[in-house]
Amino acid sequence: MTTTLPQSDELYLDLYRQMVTIRRFEEEAARAYAQGKIGGFLHLYIGQEPIAVGAASILRPDDYLLTTYRDHGMALARGMSPRAAMAELFGKVTGCSKGLGGSMHFFDVEHNMLGGYGIVGGHIPIAAGTAFASKYRGEDRVSIVFFGEGACSIGDFHEGLSLAALWKLPIVFVCENNEYSMGTPMSRTMSVEDVSMKALGYGMARDRFFVEDVFQVREHLAEAVERARTLSEPTLVEIRTYRFRGHSMSDPGKYRTPEELEDRKKKDAVLRARAELADEKGLKEALEKLEAEVEDVIADAVKFAEESPEPGPELLYATTYSGAFAR
């Protein structure tokens, strides 16, 4: 693929800032979880940052984005404040979902981050529905939805793709294939290794690549987004990636070897971006300044979350129904 998007140092620094913000956010979330400040499930995005940041950077503000329960990175890349994100993890009323959603259910309608969803594959038709609405209204918005390769076996994945292709919906389906469906390697969950082949049965455009850096993500997804925006046609994009942490905080990751993990960490796109910016582009000073700023932002988010009040029971009934409660 030929490079068509700009690649200025300024842009590179900005994308790096976003990636490192997600990573530091997740590391601090893990720490707070270990301290018992965050409850329930916590699925970290560490290792997959170039996908969220690359994708968000080529979307328009009015485009719709939906993702799985591994949703912190997507929300931050989409523009959610780290304060609102961390406060949600802490179950505080200042959180993006008022402390009612939790780690798996980040919502920020202002930024068209339309949710993190906890039922694998269940959000894929929902995302297609947002694209349906755009087409129905004659708008040129695009919807983009993320899911893991673990979602590609369940019915809603297939029904969502089937209907999106049939009705020519402006949507990009992105499979973040991190090779493990919780603790099960893809070789034991799928009869084909190439997830993008599943588009063939629906007559849908497809793309597939092994993620190397954020610019590559931008190039690939820009093409799919353009197809959705100008032709109102869906694309299935498989991005091969890797998560450096377990499926969730309770997962020690015994299903993969330490050697495999170390090998994949050498390909860490965030560290490689840093090395390139510092060594090849000579931007070490700007990097250090940026990283210090990110530390401040994350520390501020944790402090904000800790100091925020909890939601009260009065929120429960008001958020269950629009209008009067139906009892």
């Binding site: 719709y64 959180g95 993006c96 979902s97 008022k98 402390g99 009612l100 959603g101 259910h105 919502f107 920020d108 309608v109 339309l114 949710g115 969803y117 906890g118 039922i119 269940g122 959000h123 894929i124 038709p125 929902i126 995302a127 297609a128 529905g129 947002t130 694209a131 349906f132 609405a133 755009s134 129905y136 209204r137 019915g155 809603d156 029904e159 969502g160 089937s162 209907l163 049939l166 009705w167 929120l315 429960l316 008001a318 958020t319 269950t320 129904y321 629009s322 209008g323 009067a324 409660f325 139906a326 009892r327």
Partner: protein
Amino acid sequence: MSVMRYREAVRAAMIEEMERDSRVYLVGEEVGHYQGAYKVSEGMLERFGEKRVLDAPITESGFTGISIGAAMVGLRPIVEYMTWNFSAVAFDQILNNAAKLRQMSGGQLSVPIVLRAPNGSAKQVGSQHSHSMEHFYAQIPGLKVLAPATPADAKGLLKTAIRDDNPVLFMESETLYNVKGEVPDDPELLVPMGKANIVRPGKDVSIIAWSRMVHVALEAATELAKEGIEAEVIDVRSLRPLDEQTLVESVTRTHRAVVAHEGWPYGGVGAEIADRLQRLAFDELDAPILRATTLDVPMPYNAKLEQHVIPGVARVLENVRAVLYRS
């Protein structure tokens, strides 16, 4: 006033609301070119075109999810299932997305959607096509459930449902589609949710019913009148929200109640009504509240056995006599 059949009343409500609001559309299997599996949507494709009357492939979960997604960003879909039985494969979408999106987004999103279909037993359609699904859905906070018995209520309540900002599940009945009745012509005459209707006043016993069972209860009341027993028949119409007040007032007058509904007895809406009445009108009751329901078995095919399993006039009479201690 016009005299029309139940199916025509449902159609009239959809047509009027689609004329009024361009965000309303109809989707489902066979709703367009086939003119509706039960001819409820007859003529609507010709009137509104393929954009607003959409034939869907057999993908209940897919088109339910798509419609929930479309509703959450501003459209107002009407989803028709061929019967409520088939909503079982879309249960996850209804439970986890339609009902939950508002609360888990901290109140940022609403899902103004109507799901409608015939419900309950038909004639000898067997075990998998005879479910009374209202009992499953009325349990879920975030949903509203309506079950009109007459053409006038079918029209007036469906219009209210379409204008509501919450997910509303609308239970029709194959056995009621040909029932004729007077229906107001005024397109702004809406029937409010959460209001039961006393369809026959009486002083000796309250028979509480909805949908087809209202007609069965009226037949039973006619029989009872011959014996000098004046039964009050209440058409609940709206199962969630439930009109507690009308039920309590009725039992305060009659001191005895039988809940007559299709569907299994274990934990159903009838059990909920019995619980509320014993809590709210304990001192008024002269007998335990009894329920005349479908027997606690899957529906058999054999015509005589089917009639044995479905609640009919005889079972209502038997229960009424029991609460009057006349059996």
